[in-house]
């Protein structure tokens, strides 16, 4: 007996993500899904934003890692509310995990929620978490060819952060190739050069977060 199911494999995740989105919208909280390879500097960017933003926007954080609470501890040390999710070895976050984590955050005290996904350039891309915007982080030590090798991630993001710019003198990073690839994959996407170490570019990163938070606020009013 053949049953014509015609059902999206992602159906359950997509529905849970819409639930997350609705809860955040109702509270006027913008949501950003940060994706990168392990060690590109996602947590460092969150720390830099918390240290430089002077409390505006009010940032909450969900940390996704296969194991440990190390990243949550770093974020908590900056004074931000944070929930650590451990995926138990899992290679990406899913909407059900984010939905559960929301219960541990006071959304009324936030303007923006940063979700640090598990370090991985492939799997997180497939899972909507309920975010408004996506960010890809690449560090110069990973090489200029990463957008070309992982096109799907770079096609679907609203911001590309090129981190560890302070290390450019020490690596053969072809900036022209990198920018050209990103632009061809995702015309018009914003690319920010940042060094969490020297603080260069952190202002622009914070400005982008403020603008993202303001858009969500407008959404709530309208």
């Amino acid at each position: 007996m053949e049953i014509k199911l015609v059902q999206k494999v992602m159906k359950v995740n997509d529905e849970l993500a819409q639930g997350v989105r609705a809860r955040l919208r109702a509270a006027g909280v913008a949501c950003v899904n940060m994706m990168s390879a392990p060690g590109s500097g996602k947590t460092s960017l969150i720390e830099a934003a918390l240290r430089h933003c002077g409390g505006s926007p009010r940032i909450g954080v969900i940390e996704g890692d296969p194991d440990t609470t190390l990243d949550a501890e770093r974020v908590a040390a900056c004074g931000a509310p944070v929930v650590q999710i451990n995926t138990d070895g899992g290679c990406h976050l899913e909407a059900n995990l984010v939905g559960r984590a929301l219960g541990d955050l006071d959304l009324d005290a936030l303007d923006i929620l940063l979700i640090e996904n598990v370090g991985n350039l492939v799997c997180p891309v497939a899972f909507d978490l309920g975010e408004d915007r996506r960010v890809a982080v690449v560090s110069v030590t990973e090489g200029h060819d990463k957008p070309a090798k992982y096109p799907k991630l770079f096609r679907g993001v609203d911001l590309v952060v090129l981190n560890k710019a302070d290390l450019l003198p020490y690596v053969d990073f072809d900036m022209v190739f990198f920018r050209d690839t990103v632009r061809r994959l995702n015309p018009g996407v914003l690319i920010l050069d940042v060094s969490c170490r020297t603080g260069d570019g952190v202002d622009a990163w914070v400005a982008w977060l403020r603008e993202t938070a303001a858009v969500a606020d407008k959404g709530k009013a309208g």
Binding site: M1, K8, E94, F127, R183, R184, N186, P187
Partner: protein, 126 residues
């Protein structure tokens, strides 16, 4: 390797369909995989085989159909299948575009084996 989480989802749906039809064993599942999904069909089938054991789908075969990508140019509106990762419109040369097809990840059909029912009928007949 998110193929494992996808395989679990597919298994759940198939078992749900089987449960809705008297718990018949699952024989075959057909999934449609868009070319723009970063899913390796062989890896998905492998993950499915690992997930299915001990369930009413343990003898099931996972089959797949691949759908080619189709992109609509946002400058001139023409539709094309991209030749590489850069979606360059062959008509006007614009980069990027909107996905018309290729993002599918759909369980198209589940085939159940009806032998169990026949066996039961025979048993009742005795």
């Amino acid at each position: 390797m998110h193929e494992f989480s996808l395989a679990e989802r597919i298994l759940e749906s198939a078992l749900g369909a089987a449960a809705a039809h008297g718990g018949l064993p699952v024989e075959r599942i057909v999934v449609e995989i868009g070319a723009l999904q970063q899913v390796v069909p062989e890896a998905l089938a492998f993950a499915f085989d690992a997930a299915k054991s001990g369930t009413p789908a343990e003898d099931a075969v996972l089959e797949w159909r691949e759908t080619a990508a189709l992109i609509a140019c946002e400058s001139c509106g023409s539709e094309f299948t991209p030749e590489d990762m850069f979606w360059m419109c062959p008509s006007c040369g614009a980069a990027g575009g909107r996905v018309v097809r290729g993002e599918e990840l759909i369980i198209q059909s589940v085939t159940l084996r009806e032998t169990l029912l026949e066996t039961r009928e025979v048993e009742h007949g005795n």
